[in-house]
């Protein structure tokens, strides 16, 4: 019996020595990163949500170590207030329109979104994807015509996606990477390249973090090869635009 206990203790001591000895981080990340972040790093804890909700929580003192936002505005605001380090862009994305697989409203192009009676779901204006949606509509000169069809402003991109995937809404604006997570449930309509907003994801280390060194390593690894490969495999764009 004593030998068994001893063996267990030795095993317990050896196990973490084999892995990298570092503390588990709490990463606050944009909802659109829900599927890909655990693939990049399954060791840390994640809180996914609308980037603006997460930023507000960090301002209220939430115990986050890393903040990965779907824009650069929010982490820059935190940086200006001294609440996080200078943000770095770690990936980019594009916007698409999704419609339910059955496509009850018969939407083929973005211009169909102006038709009367179309139930369009978007994210709220404070959510990154919500403001990107407004930019797309403005770029395509569709703001007024489409805005009358908005039936709900959701709190993050995945809420938009699930309302479309459920078939409750006729269409919604999400990132192209979100559309890929529910194959067979939604159809994707591309937003033309000329109307695309500049979707850059910024990451920073939270000033109040008690694991700053590990958090910095997390950020460094995020912009390195292996993590970038996984992001690209999930449909994200390389962090620097190729000329």
């Amino acid at each position: 019996m004593r030998r068994l206990v001893l063996a267990l203790i030795v095993a317990a001591l050896l196990l973490p020595a084999g892995a990298v000895a570092r503390s588990q981080l709490t990463v606050y990340a944009a909802a659109s990163l829900t599927d890909v972040f655990p693939k990049i790093d399954s060791f840390d804890r994640y809180s996914f949500g609308g980037s603006n909700q997460l930023a507000a929580q960090i301002q209220q003192g939430a115990p986050a170590d890393v903040f990965a936002s779907a824009n650069t505005t929010l982490p820059n605001q935190l940086y200006a207030k001294g609440l996080c380090s200078k943000p770095v862009v770690f990936t980019r994305n594009t916007l698409v329109v999704v419609v339910p697989q059955a496509n009850p409203a018969g939407i083929r192009t973005i211009y169909d979104l102006t038709r009367a009676g179309v139930k369009l779901v978007v994210a709220g204006p404070g959510v990154p994807v919500g403001s990107y949606t407004l930019q797309v509509l403005k770029n395509m000169n569709l703001s007024a015509a489409v805005q009358k069809n908005i039936v709900s402003q959701e709190t993050d991109v995945r809420e938009v996606l699930s309302k479309v995937a459920l078939g409750e809404a006729d269409a919604g604006f999400v990132y192209s990477t979100d559309a890929r997570t529910v194959p067979g449930q939604v159809r994707t309509i591309k937003v033309p390249a000329w109307a695309q907003p500049k979707v850059q994801y910024g990451v920073c280390v939270v000033t109040a973090s008690t694991h700053k060194a590990d958090a910095q390593t997390f950020v460094k690894r995020l912009i390195a090869g292996a993590a970038q490969k996984k992001l690209i495999a999930a449909g994200f764009l390389p962090r620097v635009k190729k000329k």
Partner: protein
């Protein structure tokens, strides 16, 4: 000495519990001055959410009253097989997590839902409409009224109803002139409770009705949405909800004290434990 220590511990525990319950409420008002609160009330997001909340909750209460009262009376006055099961099922939405209620409403009344597809065929789509908010509020809040109404009806003295009948009053007259006045305190208490629950409804609403300013965005949904945008507005809205809740709580206690003085028995679920 040991006894004295026990008394101190006892008082301290009670004090901690009291402070714990009051602190968050006090903190809301500590962080927002009355002037600031009034100032935020002119914020269109706050004002619209207030109007939507009051409107949907009042309509839901009317529906709960009209449909819930007959059900409560039936459950209170008739003994039939499966009554206990019926009572349990009526109470179920009360303990259901709001997110589950939201999924249930979508599965039932959503576009592809059980009833929703038939509704859709005749041109009625509930999700994302104000009607959907009313449905969600009525679903989660009605059990509180029905439960309290059942207790109120059961507490009325059956001899008075019997006397009314032997004196020649019909069942409808007996119900409206004898039973309803006897039970009114409990019914008012039930309405106050379900109104408060309806006003606070969040999870089922955001899933079933979505959130859109001026259409479906109630105060709790606006608090959630504004949290990330304008913390002062969320404080003001929270302050408004606290004040309304205090009024409702007063209504609840007033209703309960009426019921106690009006009837002989009072087996209440939500009544205060001490007889004041």
């Amino acid at each position: 000495m040991a006894r004295r220590l026990l008394v101190v511990a006892y008082v301290a525990a009670a004090g901690i519990a009291l402070v714990f319950l009051l602190l968050p409420i006090a903190a809301i008002f500590a962080r927002t001055s009355p002037a600031h609160l009034l100032d935020q009330l002119s914020n269109p997001v706050v004002r619209d959410a207030f109007v939507i909340s009051i409107k949907t909750t009042v309509i839901a209460q009317v529906l709960i009253l009209v449909f819930g009262t007959p059900l409560a009376f039936l459950l209170a006055s008739r003994r039939f097989r499966g009554r206990a099961l019926a009572v349990t099922l009526v109470e179920l939405p009360l303990v259901l997590p709001p997110a589950v209620a939201g999924i249930g409403l979508l599965a039932a009344f959503g576009r592809l839902g059980l009833l929703g597809s038939s509704l859709n065929a005749v041109g009625v789509t509930l999700p994302f409409t104000q009607t959907a908010v009313i449905v969600a509020v009525a679903y989660v809040a009605s059990p509180l009224y029905i439960r309290q109404a059942v207790a109120a009806f059961e507490a009325t003295d059956p001899n008075l109803a019997a006397a009314s009948r032997t004196l020649g009053a019909g069942p409808a007259r007996t119900f409206f002139r004898v039973i309803l006045p006897l039970a009114r305190g409990g019914l008012i208490a039930g309405l106050a409770l379900s109104f408060a629950r309806g006003l606070g409804e969040f999870g089922a609403t955001i899933m079933f009705a979505g959130s859109l300013q001026k259409v479906t965005q109630t105060l709790p949904l606006a608090i959630y949405a504004e949290f990330a945008v304008n913390f002062n507005a969320t404080l003001a809205m929270s302050g408004v909800l606290v004040l309304i809740s205090i009024v409702l709580l007063a209504g609840l206690h007033l209703g309960l004290s009426w019921q106690r003085s009006d009837s002989t028995r009072s087996p209440f679920f939500f009544g205060p434990s001490s007889s004041a």
